[in-house]
């Protein structure tokens, strides 16, 4: 499967290359939710897939909070509020759970068309849109938090502070 990597942050690009193997299929069936490691405020599953972390007192990781904002800026307009879906676009809170992470990234980056006699569904490609690509992991972890039931609807409350590593990665990606 070819992927357009030009707009992806470097850590994400490395993970994408890593996944093009048979073990990726098994990894998708493994636990895609539980955070197993933490790298400077970003959480990953045992297989290195980005995921959310919500502490017992309700404090969530920065990226999940950021994903709430970025989702509503870029995705809400078709997919409805909080990943819940619209009259024509699927509920992404379910897509984030049902789909393999790399498939999810592929659809957002490259788009997807379902045009036939009975439907006109076109997901645009966001690969050249820094407002989406620089926050794709944030959006993904937010949707997983919603889809897994860990995060109810509504504006997220307590969050971890934005780490310097996250701030730096954002600046590098946006080119500011």
């Amino acid at each position: 499967m070819t992927r357009r990597l030009s707009a992806l942050p470097t850590s994400l690009a490395a993970l994408a290359l890593f996944a093009s193997s048979a073990t990726a299929q098994d990894a998708a069936k493994a636990d895609n939710i539980t955070a197993a490691s933490n790298e400077n405020g970003r959480y990953y599953t045992a297989d290195g897939v980005p995921t959310f972390n919500i502490a017992p007192d309700g404090t969530m990781d920065w990226m999940t909070y950021s994903g709430f904002r970025r989702y509503h800026s870029e995705c809400h307009v078709c997919h409805g509020p909080e990943g819940e879906g619209s009259s024509y676009a699927p509920a992404l809170k379910n897509s984030a759970i049902d789909m393999d992470y790399y498939d999810f990234v592929d659809v957002v980056t490259n788009g997807r068309k379902k045009v036939s006699a009975s439907q006109n569904s076109v997901m645009p490609s966001f690969g050249q849109n820094a407002n989406v690509m620089c926050y794709l992991d944030d959006i993904y972890t937010y949707l997983k938090a919603r889809g897994s039931g860990a995060l109810p609807r509504g504006r997220p409350g307590k969050k971890e502070p934005k780490s310097d590593a996250i701030r730096q990665a954002e600046a590098d990606c946006l080119g500011n």
């Binding site: 904002r69 800026s73 078709c78 076109v122």
Partner: protein, 600 residues
Amino acid sequence: MKRLLTLLAVLTIGGSQVAFANPDLQKIIDDPNQWAIQTGDYANQRYSKLDQINKGNVGKMQVAWTFSTGVLRGHEGSPLVIGDMMYVHSPFPNTVFALDLSKEGQIVWKYEPKQDADVIPVMCCDTVNRGVAYADGKIFLHQADTTVVALDAKTGKVVWSVKNGDPKKGETNTATVLPVKDKIIVGISGGEFGVRGSVTAYAMADGKLLWRGYSMGPDSDTLIDPEKTTHLGKPVGADSGLNTWEGDQWKIGGGTTWGWYSYDAEENLIYYGSGNPSTWNPSQRPGDNRWSMTIFARDADTGVAKWVYQMTPHDEWDYDGINEMILTEQDMDGKARKLLTHFDRNGFGYTLDRVSGELLVAEKYDPAVNWATEVVMDPKSDQYGRPQVVAQYSTEQNGEDVNSTGICPAALGTKDQQPAAYSPKTQLFYVPTNHVCMDYEPFRVSYTAGQPYVGATLSMYPAPGSHGGMGNFIAWDGKEGKIKWSLPEKFSVWSGALATAGDVVFYGTLEGYLKAVDSETGKELYRFKTPSGIIGNVMTYTHGGKQYVAVLSGVGGWAGIGLAAGLTNPNEGLGAVGGYAALSDYTALGGTLTVFSLPN
């Protein structure tokens, strides 16, 4: 503060016989048996003189026939009926059907444009289209991909075709077109994609581009005369569409023109409103951002603006100014005046003198509106005509990355494009409204051609402390600036209203009900659940001596996006169970025309 209209008599001129108008079209518009233009008439009153169906018998109305468009997305607009022919349109791919009513709706011709499906994701809010227009034996359609076509009304063959914009830059179309004299006036969509809005005139005969007036930019682009074009009675001065912007921001300024247009043949002026400035993050575009959020009066022949009025300078809430401009004639202080009434997204109902652009009334038409206290009406004040913004609800004053809470109305406005109706009999406006508030958090975004350029996070919820539903259908008394009656609805009312001489007012609900109510009291007289939520406009016509009422069903539009999953009030805290009703619990996608009549 409050300026009341003292009226002695009410006259309405739905479309006067004037030498300059397109006389053939005017004749059909004046015939209540036909529905020749999307807005009912040039005045946008959506009023029919037909009274065979009236408040005494509408309770017995039944479905006479139905027609499926074959498309499943939001169905806005309505059919046209010219003689024996009914013209029905669809959302993308914008199929047009010509049905012969004398042959039980047989499809005489079908126009199926071939459009690149890549235009779909650059249409911000569903792939709606507000319908075709008719003039000079031709049907005019402005497609999603901005192709404007003229079709032979008898055969459906393409007579001419031009491209009005470029979807690669985010330019698309959802609106109908206005046939005026020998011209077709068209708008453009894409305010959420950094598109610079404009209105363009093409020759009806061959599609030649005659003039184009942008919503911002130098005077040569905006077709504004620094000395003759006025704003609240004063000349606007040079380059008003430039010097109210920082740097080059005007080039991606928004101010798109996707709403309804009206026309006064005697003044030869077309009236319309412009949409939000681009981006939704106000800090990225300092200045008043003229002429976004503006009511325009343009000369139909030259496009030059005679007057303008900006309702929401330096918008901070996405209150597009594109709603319909309803033209009426009423007496004020003993003088007959030509008026324009506009129910804006921002929650204020405006009445202006449509000849001079003088501001006469600006009152809230939903008590929940809170982002501004009032619009200053004193011509001597330096704040004349400006809304007085409440700091707590100013998304700019609260700042980027700050969540401004409890702003009413939400971005979708107290009323969106769904058009109101006016009855000269009751002298009331019948207005389909939204009753929704929002939290709004702006943040920095960068611009890429053809990509969304939004820059804000919104949460929407029903107005707190109210009936709990998301909409009202109201009767508004423009003389007193007051709500006469208000029918609460579970969901925003997203259909166009129709008022008739039979003392009935029709509207459609998002669950799919076509409703008929008494025009004086608002009492419900009839309801029928059509196959899908209604966001189309109710219209009426006769055939074979019998009156019919018709409406398109097919849920979608912004309502299908924002309301499908239901809303929750974030201020109730995390874990608020249940939230508010989800539209997806009441209806699914559809695409049907339902036509009603009295039983035989």
